[in-house]
């Protein structure tokens, strides 16, 4: 799936975040607008070509894409079966999304969060007149990316603590202690942000 930044010395890593994200948007529009499978194939080829150019481990990246693509195949397969939209349409849809996921992964693997955040700050800055605080939105993005692995760890921890006491898979039993943990985490995090000089009232540059 969308990966975390993986540092390499490559020209793709050095491209500005705006170019990469803008490019991704443009390619997405083209792929979805073009009829048939050609757009998807071209985008997929572009992605496959860029992987080695970015010095990324091709096999690992492709392996990570297997799960989401399998899910898409299932989704569109079921749709084709139930809604009778046709196998060809399903195949085109899967190919399109697979190619776009590959390109999106390429962008996240080669772009530092700081650069992404700065870009978001500039883009959201245009929305400042309607009351959007760009600095806040950008920080939220950074925090989300940072805390996803941490959250996964908390889930593992709670689950293990419960298994140790003989509770097997129960969504409710997982959910409540997890919520409590998340609330304490949010409290601590707010204090830490404040201690490190982040001022929520600050309207940004």
């Amino acid at each position: 799936m969308l990966g975390l930044y993986l540092h390499r010395e490559s020209p793709v890593h050095r491209w500005p975040a705006g170019v990469k994200l803008g490019g991704l948007l443009a390619v997405t529009a083209v792929v979805l607008a073009l009829p048939g499978v050609w757009g998807a194939l071209a985008a997929g080829a572009l992605g496959l070509g860029l992987l080695p150019a970015a010095r990324l481990p091709v096999a690992t990246v492709l392996r990570h894409l297997r799960a989401p693509v399998a899910m898409l195949a299932l989704l569109f397969g079921v749709q084709a079966l139930l809604a009778g939209t046709g196998w060809e349409a399903a195949l085109v849809a899967v190919l399109r999304f697979a190619a776009l996921i590959l390109l999106a992964t390429l962008v996240t693997l080669t772009t530092r969060v700081t650069d992404m955040v700065e870009l978001f700050e500039r883009v959201f800055g245009l929305l400042r007149p309607v009351g959007v605080n760009p600095a806040k939105l950008a920080l939220m993005l950074a925090l989300t990316i940072r805390f996803i692995p941490l959250l996964a760890e908390q889930v593992r921890e709670v689950r293990m603590a419960q298994q140790a006491r003989g509770v097997e898979r129960s969504i409710a039993a997982l959910f409540v202690p997890l919520l409590v943990k998340i609330f304490t985490m949010a409290d601590d995090l707010a204090a830490a942000l404040e201690a490190r000089g982040y001022d929520p009232a600050d309207r940004g540059p």
Partner: protein, 224 residues
């Protein structure tokens, strides 16, 4: 210098610190005491993360109630759990976070971050995701993120609790060599034996306040 003037603090209507008056000017001050004695509350009052329910806290003459922002710039704070203070996904980006929040120019951020990473042995992890670091490395990263801001005082709330012996040594060394004044909350009595002053808290009151060779034995005796 940090000064408490008749400070009382309550969460809701439950007081946890009772009318404390104390001046801290020594280079190394330790706060010890049992669980729930009010150490963390005391520490958070030092940099305006909490403001007292009554009385006032002054840092170099600035009141935490009215000059909270300026106080937080002067007083760095290191929490027990580094996971909660690391806010950016990779090591280098996280160390730069506080500087960026203070609108330091980009080139200067780069320079100061690189120096901090070198100083704290984190340079080789520069581009690594924070969640892949070991517990000790995370604590060093959290400390680096605070020290890079060059605060005049540093407060540590149980900085060694989650660490193994080797990393505990590293953090102790680091605190020992800090050029700043430091206040350290800890259960680690060995760590504070060479400090200048130890305050012992019990139920929100200071029950001993002396050099370690006097205060620590007194604390140990109260425990038994």
């Amino acid at each position: 210098m940090i000064e408490f003037r008749s400070v009382t603090h309550a969460y809701g209507d439950r007081p946890v610190l009772h009318d404390l008056s104390v001046r801290l000017a020594e280079r190394r001050v330790a706060i010890v005491g049992g669980n729930g004695s009010g150490k963390s509350t005391f520490a958070r009052l030092l940099n305006g993360l909490l403001v007292p329910s009554a009385g006032s806290v002054l840092v170099d003459g600035l009141d935490t109630r009215t000059d909270g922002r300026a106080v937080r710039r002067r007083v760095g704070f290191v929490f027990q759990n580094p996971d909660m203070q690391i806010v950016f996904p990779t090591v280098e980006e996280d160390v730069g976070f506080g500087l960026k929040a203070r609108k330091v120019p980009k080139e200067e951020i780069g320079r100061r971050v690189a120096a901090a990473l070198d100083r704290h042995n984190l340079a080789r992890h520069r581009h690594q995701p924070a969640h892949q670091l070991s517990g000790g490395e995370k604590q060093l990263l959290a400390i680096a993120g605070v020290l890079v801001l060059e605060p005049a005082h540093v407060v540590f709330d149980e900085p060694t609790t989650l660490l193994d012996l080797r990393n505990r040594r590293r953090v102790i060394e680091l605190v020992r060599e800090l050029p700043q004044n430091a206040v350290v909350v800890t259960h680690d009595l060995d760590m504070v034996m060479d400090f200048d002053r130890v305050l012992v808290l019990e139920d929100g009151r200071i029950v001993a306040d002396d050099v370690p060779s006097v205060a620590i034995p007194a604390y140990v005796k109260r425990l038994s």
